[in-house]
């Protein structure tokens, strides 16, 4: 499916695009990018997976990103049936206690990837079966991949 067709399809699912925070963009990226508000994330993701026209059954990359003001997660999706690709982005402005919904129930690969994001960005995924540190020790202070993380001993800057 082409990016326009995808965009048309997905727009139909959310009559109130404004409230769902749904925006599309193809600038500065080789994929179609969708921004969605955290509240509608699960709804969008389940539809992307289950809808026959989209059928995004392969989550090939899940990355946490620190955008400065906001923390967020970028989902790279691919359909093994139609071979089209899509990027979904979700952001949360809460840096103290960021929380997002888990997509573990939709793609099982998210279990480890979300634990990695939790480990490095401190984003908690509600509904995740095993939300604990994966790489770092339990006593580790802070979240290393955040931009404001400082560690004078372990980090060599320039």
């Amino acid at each position: 499916m082409t990016n326009e067709a995808l965009q048309n399809n997905i727009t139909k699912w959310f009559p109130d695009a404004e409230a769902a925070g749904l925006t599309f963009s193809e600038e500065e990226s080789q994929f179609l990018n969708i921004d969605i508000s955290p509240n509608n994330l699960i709804e969008l993701m389940s539809k992307l997976k289950s809808n026959e026209d989209t059928s995004f059954d392969y989550l090939f990359c899940l990355s946490g990103v620190d955008w400065g003001e906001e923390l967020g997660v970028v989902y790279h999706l691919e359909s093994t049936l139609h071979r089209h690709q899509l990027v979904v982005k979700v952001r949360t402005p809460d840096r103290e206690n960021p929380t997002l919904d888990t997509v573990y129930s939709i793609w099982k690969t998210a279990e480890f990837h979300e634990r990695e994001v939790f480990d490095f960005f401190g984003i908690t995924f509600t509904g995740h079966p095993n939300m604990k540190r994966l790489f770092l020790t339990d006593e580790w202070q802070g979240y290393p991949l955040r931009k404001d993380y400082e560690d004078e001993i372990n980090m060599i800057l320039k």
């Binding site: 090939f60 990359c61 990103v65 690969t109 990837h113 800057l157």
Partner: protein, 373 residues
């Protein structure tokens, strides 16, 4: 492991053993916390991070040329392909068209790397199921590739041969003849591998029906590479998103449908043949030309997001770069194949014996630095 969660769902007939971080079957510093009832595995809980170097954070302060060097240290057995992934991502971002010669050489080197990685895997696979001799056979043939690499790239393990814009230097004059010699030699050795291990009754008994992964689960768990293809899930990046010179060669995607350990084994053996065929198609017509197009000394990627996937020996490696237009990436994420493949270990190993777990892990072909990036 914190003790509180452990005790709450612990039955008295079960017990824990720590497989790793120092254990012969984990091939590095992976630690698996196994819950076992007698010999039967009840739960596998991987504990990672023993050699985590936070390459992604390091990338945020490094220039793009430097990042290429870091990728060697991830999946060190497919270092050339890792290098290629970053270089391709940077070149795509810069809209840089590399010469045909570079593309062909990259593909040949990539396939040689794949063979050498699979050779090591084959040796270690045999060793994990108790046939120690295979290790030396695998290394015998891997050594020949290492020699070729040493001559051309100047290194045997961490090659650093690719740079954004091409190759660090041209191929060695002996390269073509040595690769041809290797291909002819290796064609006689794969049947030997089959005689020694594949056709062995004990080996087949140990691997058939063990660690079965269904196609749906393979996709859902993000399995890629031989692990996914053994479950009948056609996921070869070289087929679906061809890069370098892979769009001009014909090869079959190695596919099996059983999804068990033996199927994963057979996929890799089949890939030996496919890689040899790719090399054979390209080795005689390496185009003349430059081995590198000049780039700026300081590479600044235009603002935007770039994603490049390649097929390493272990599966799909993704490089996700967010650039803000400076000389360093704002965020760089490596989607490593081993990480996703490890996540399905618990799913397929539960219910098996300790011996099954070892055989299953051997065919997942985990490289720990690839997981602990």
């Amino acid at each position: 492991m914190e003790t509180t969660t452990v005790q709450s769902n612990f039955k008295s007939e079960e017990y824990f053993i720590n497989m790793g971080p120092q254990h012969p079957a984990t091939h590095g510093v992976l630690r698996l916390v196994l819950t076992i009832d007698g010999e039967i595995i009840k739960k596998v809980d991987p504990d990672l991070g023993y050699i985590h170097r936070s390459i992604e954070k390091m990338c945020e302060r490094d220039s793009y040329q430097q990042i290429v060097h870091l990728t060697d240290r991830m999946d060190y057995l497919s270092s050339n392909i890792n290098n290629e992934a970053v270089c391709l991502a940077v070149e795509n971002a810069l809209q840089l068209e590399v010469p045909d010669r570079v593309k062909v050489i990259r593909t040949i080197i990539g396939e040689l790397t794949r063979i050498s990685s699979h050779c090591l895997w084959w040796g270690v696979m045999g060793m994990d199921v108790g046939a120690l001799t295979t290790y030396f056979y695998g290394f015998r043939d891997r050594e020949l590739i290492n020699d070729i690499m040493e001559e051309t790239c100047g290194a045997r393990l961490t090659m650093n041969y690719n740079v954004p814009g091409g190759l660090m230097f041209d191929i060695h004059p002996n390269f073509v003849s040595r690769v041809k010699k290797f291909v002819a030699h290796f064609k006689t050795k794969i049947p030997e591998y089959d005689r020694l291990l594949t056709n062995n009754v004990i080996f087949q008994k140990r691997t058939k029906g063990v660690g079965v992964l269904s196609k749906e689960d393979a996709i859902s768990f993000g399995a890629s590479g031989p692990v996914g293809r053994a479950s009948g899930y056609s996921c070869d990046v070289r087929k679906y998103h061809p890069y370098s010179a892979l769009d001009r060669v014909t090869f079959n995607e190695a596919l099996q449908t059983e999804g068990d350990t033996f199927a994963r084994y057979k996929v890799r053996i089949q890939e030996f043949w496919e890689s040899l065929s790719i090399i054979e198609q390209l080795i005689d017509n390496i185009p003349e030309g430059e081995h590198r197009v000049p780039t700026n000394a300081v590479i600044k990627l235009p603002k935007g997001e770039y994603y490049q996937k390649v097929e390493t020996a272990r599966g799909e490696l993704g490089v996700y770069i967010i650039s803000t237009g400076t000389k360093n990436p704002y965020r760089l994420k490596f989607r490593s194949p081993g990480f996703s493949n490890l996540s399905l270990l618990n799913h397929i190993a539960v219910g098996g014996k300790i011996g099954d777990l070892v055989a299953t892990m051997a065919t997942l072909d985990l490289v720990i630095p690839d997981i602990d990036r």
